[in-house]
């Protein structure tokens, strides 16, 4: 199939403006008769639901949590990028565009990324107008900080709770539309299939998680804003409920899945402490602004970190990447940590950790305070105490979280960190209008693949989620719905709805009737191990081929031996999990296939066969400068389609942060 990304003609700077002024519109009277279904209420879903409700469409929104405010966007810590150039440090739309393309290792689509950079400023304006309490300077203006992969300060933040504040802004806008009757909110509902009639998306099948009832919902368009699939690894920084089910069901109904193997492993997470571990906790990238990352210069050094003198420490990021130092992009920082640990320099009981040290920052801030306050004859202890206060104000909540989880005091001893699965750049293939390969079916935010290439820069996920929901979909959906005004009411009595509902029920019954002897978590953990070992931070042909075999076997065992207690018509958490894990198993296989196909290293995808002598990732633009868009054939069988990536504005180069 020919993939048409529908990128508007003309120079990149004018594509979006021209598109907006020439796209089809739907008049207000017709909007009232058009139903839009939105699945997921994170930043992308909540902002889309609010904005489309404001425009007058009839919106139905769904989330599996008990309130839309709980979507996992809420956990984003560090910030949101915008090309405001408030710091006068040389930022611009072009710079943000360039940094994002380069950060993504030249595997993202230029036109989409340029639009993202272009609307980034509007997002900040919109959020401030909603009352989002961003951090401010004493003069009352907004504050910015640095993030990885950039040399300007363009990150807006609200302490370590930026995602929370942005989501609550979008959530309140959404609830306002609920109150106005424009949005109908369905909480504790999970989408279990999309209904496609004559090639057009006409609705969804959802399960009421409290009663177990299977419901049919019709719409003229369906928006999947269902986040990423990092939980395929079992252990990740995602919420426990984050899953791929909605996207995977769409994939099975014809939506292509793009670049599934592009996974972001975040360098600064709290290391695994034992087999009981259920999730991993991120320590914001903003900590790399001030913290220094190091390991001992001696292998298997068992001394306490404070007993290791300065000259016996290896600040390996500063050594390897002097230009960006501790602020190299996430993929680079993660691989460098793995390299040191694999070579025997890791720390902590597991030896799979590196230090993130604040001692120097505390002293530096202490001295600044001494200067500000004009103090003299100050002891080192007093300087440290002043510095700790400053660090506490900047990162207090993160330090507290670390202390609670590990039982150690990060103000006194360096934190131990290790990379963990965090974000998935891959997702449903979408065109410039965010439409998947199925008519009327859209994917927004992390659920789509479009903007981050092979590696996402920090503070860009929030930007993309809100860009898609507030500023892109309200325009692009009209172009489709303008032709739907004559469709009229869609009946859920159509045989396609009945068929989809029956299939959903059949699958649910299969789970509870299987009565095997292994829990859903057993299978999820087994899948996670395969994925982490062979499709994690480093991948090779042999390992991927082995993983594919193992996953196929695991899939068979799952369907024959899973134990799901309870019934289908009640609140049944194990049943919910079973459905999600079944989809993760199929996705895992596709990820390995995609990783196997891409015999180059780019961004978060590191093929051991493709590296330089110094161990840096080696891209192969001649062969792999494409988006891999997979078409579902059968469970375990997919067809590869390629969308060539064409760079007209940015010269492709080796990505260097040295």
């Amino acid at each position: 199939m020919e993939l048409n990304s529908k990128i508007p003609a003309g120079p990149v700077e004018t594509k979006w403006t021209k598109y907006k002024s020439s796209v089809k519109l739907v008049n207000p009277a017709n909007k009232r008769n058009l139903d839009i279904i939105i699945v997921g209420t994170g930043l992308a879903g909540a902002s889309a639901a609010a904005s489309l409700g404001e425009l007058g469409y009839k919106v139905k929104a769904f989330c599996f949590q008990d309130s839309p405010r709980r979507a996992h966007s809420i956990a984003a810590q560090g910030g949101i990028n915008a090309a405001k150039n408030y710091q006068n440090d040389g930022d611009s739309t072009y710079r943000l565009f360039y940094d994002t393309i380069k950060g993504g290792d030249y595997r993202a689509r230029e036109a989409n990324v340029y639009r993202l950079a272009e609307v980034s400023s509007n997002i900040i304006d919109q959020c401030v107008a909603q009352g989002v309490p961003f951090a401010r300077e004493y003069g009352g203006l907004l504050s910015n900080r640095s993030f990885g992969g950039t040399q300007v300060q363009r990150t807006f933040y609200a302490a370590g709770q930026t995602g929370q504040q942005l989501l609550l802004g979008a959530y309140s806008a959404l609830e306002r539309q609920v109150a106005l009757g424009n949005v109908e909110m369905h909480t504790r509902h999970e989408m279990l299939d999309v209904v496609v009639i004559d090639g057009k998306t006409r609705g969804i099948i959802a399960r009421n998680l409290i009663t177990g009832e299977i419901e049919r919902h019709a719409g003229h368009a369906v928006l999947l804003c269902t986040g990423g699939y990092g939980n395929v690894f079992y252990l990740s920084t995602n919420a426990m409920g984050s899953n791929v089910t909605a996207a995977w069901k769409a994939h099975k109904k014809g939506a292509f899945f793009a670049n599934p193997c592009f996974t972001q492993i975040h360098p600064t997470c709290i290391p695994v402490s034992g087999d009981h571990q259920s999730k991993l906790t991120l320590m914001s990238e903003s900590l790399r602004n001030d913290g220094r990352i190091w390991v001992p210069k001696k292998q298997n050094d068992d001394r306490k970190p404070i007993d290791i003198p300065e000259e016996e420490r290896d600040y390996y990021l500063e050594r390897r990447y002097p230009a960006f130092g501790n602020l190299v992009p996430r993929d680079v920082a993660s691989r460098a940590a793995k390299e040191r640990c694999d070579a025997g320099y890791g720390v902590g009981t597991s030896k799979m950790a590196v230090y993130l040290d604040y001692a120097a920052a505390i002293e530096r801030y202490g001295k600044i305070e001494v200067g500000k306050k004009g103090l003299s004859n100050i002891s080192k202890e007093e300087i440290i105490a002043l510095g700790k206060d400053v660090v506490k104000e900047k990162y207090g909540n993160l330090f507290d979280m670390y202390a609670k989880i590990t039982g150690e005091n990060p103000y006194e001893t360096p934190m131990r960190i290790y990379p963990a699965v965090h974000y998935t750049m891959g997702g449903l293939w979408v065109d410039y209008e965010l439409k998947t390969t199925v008519d009327g079916l859209y994917a927004l935010g992390e659920a789509n693949f479009s903007d981050h290439g092979a590696n996402r820069l920090g503070a860009s996920a929030l930007m993309q989620g809100l860009a898609d929901g507030y500023f892109v979909i309200p325009y692009t959906i009209g172009n489709y719905l303008a032709d739907e005004i004559r469709t009229g009411h869609i009946s859920t009595d159509h045989p396609a709805f009945l068929q989809a509902e029956n299939e959903v029920k059949e699958t649910l019954n299969k789970f509870v009737n299987c009565k095997g002897n292994k829990s859903v978590d057993y299978f999820h953990k087994a899948l996670g191990k395969i994925m982490w070992n062979d499709c994690g931070m480093a991948r090779n042909k042999e390992g991927l081929e082995k993983a594919i075999k193992e996953i196929k076997a695991l899939r068979t065992e799952f369907w024959n031996n899973v134990m799901v207690p309870g019934t289908v018509d009640e609140f049944n958490v194990e049943l919910e999990k079973a459905g999600r894990v079944a989809d993760f198993i199929e996705l895992g296989e596709l990820m390995c296939k995609d990783a196997l196909d891409r015999n180059e290293s780019c961004g978060g995808h590191f093929r051991e066969e493709s590296q330089t002598e110094e161990g840096e990732a080696e891209r192969n633009d001649e062969i792999y400068s494409y988006v891999a868009a997979w078409k579902y054939i059968n469970a375990g069988e997919s067809e590869l389609n390629k969308e060539p990536l064409i760079y007209e504005n940015i010269k492709i180069a080796a990505r260097s942060y040295k």
């Binding site: 902002s47 609010a50 904005s51 404001e54 949590q65 008990d66 309130s67 839309p68 405010r69 709980r70 979507a71 996992h72 809420i74 956990a75 405001k84 408030y86 509007n122 304006d125 919109q126 401030v128 107008a129 909603q130 009352g131 309490p133 401010r136 009352g140 907004l142 609200a158 709770q161 995602g163 929370q164 309140s172 806008a173 609830e175 306002r176 109150a179 909110m185 909480t187 919420a239 426990m240 402490s273 034992g274 009981h276 259920s278 999730k279 906790t281 009981t349 507290d400 979280m401 609670k404 989880i405 039982g407 309200p474 829990s519 978590d521 134990m563 009640e570 609140f571 958490v573 194990e574």
Partner: protein, 254 residues
């Protein structure tokens, strides 16, 4: 860190659904690492139950990093358990001793009916937000963000109030099941900021009205909510809510 294995007895509230009566059931768990989170201990218990053919205990949880507000257990009589300023998911087992008996209940409040076991229905909070917990601005072209400088002190105060995660521990902690801390946090955030001024009066009246309709009790200033709040939302916000309500009510009677 030391990994000590704890043997514990759990007394957990079991309730099939809102229509049936619930009761405590006892469970033993063995060799629990002190590095586990409280919810990971529940994962272990549930795996144990499933492997012996029993139904696992239903409980709400999602992010497991203390920010989504979904987890909600009353542990030994305290919402979110013994650690101050901590959600259930961030509570770790080093808070307990070998041989302890731990009682675990759902949020108890008429406005939060039990869905199953430890899961309750908190949709009343969403309806309170629908009553006015927002700034009425559509997506569009607002003015440049820096065109509106805001005193850092006010912005910081607004942020402290906005840190509320909507978990409902304040209601569970209150002998009157009052939702005043939750409502006051949102009212304060928006009353402190210039963006919230145009709807300042209508917002507070409408949100308080909805809170009453949902059946939440009155505030008698005992401060249990502040003590149990995992985000340490201050009682000052309730004082502000009262002032806001008084002046709005007086003005509307003119």
């Amino acid at each position: 860190m030391e990994h000590t294995g704890l043997n514990l007895t759990l007394k957990v509230w079991k309730q099939k659904n809102a229509a049936t009566k619930g009761a405590f059931e006892s469970y033993d768990v063995k060799n629990i690492s002190t590095d586990m989170s409280f919810l990971e201990m529940f994962d272990v218990l549930n795996e144990q139950l499933i492997s012996t053919g029993k139904e696992p205990i239903a409980f709400d949880h999602d992010c497991r990093e203390g920010i989504c507000g979904m987890c909600s257990m009353v542990i030994n009589g305290r919402p979110h358990g013994p650690w101050n300023g901590t959600t259930t998911c961030q509570l770790h087992m080093r808070a307990f001793k070998n041989g302890d008996t731990i009682t675990v209940e759902p949020w108890r409040a008429g406005s939060f009916p039990v869905v199953r076991d430890l899961v309750v229905d908190r949709s009343a909070f969403d309806r309170i937000i629908q009553a006015g917990g927002y700034v009425s601005i559509n997506t569009g072209n607002p003015v440049d963000a820096n065109a509106l400088p805001i005193d850092k002190k006010l912005a910081d105060k607004a942020f402290a109030a906005a840190a509320c995660i909507g978990c409902g521990a304040c209601v569970a902690a209150c002998k009157n099941s009052s939702a005043m801390l939750f409502v006051s946090a949102k009212v304060s955030q928006l009353a402190l900021l210039p963006q919230g001024q145009p709807e300042r009066s209508s917002r507070v009246l409408s949100m308080v009205d909805q809170m009453d309709k949902e059946g939440f009790g009155n505030c008698t200033n005992t401060g249990a909510c502040e003590a149990e709040c995992p985000k340490e939302i201050s009682l000052e916000n309730i004082a502000r809510l009262n002032r806001e309500y008084m002046s709005a009510a007086l003005a509307s009677e003119e």
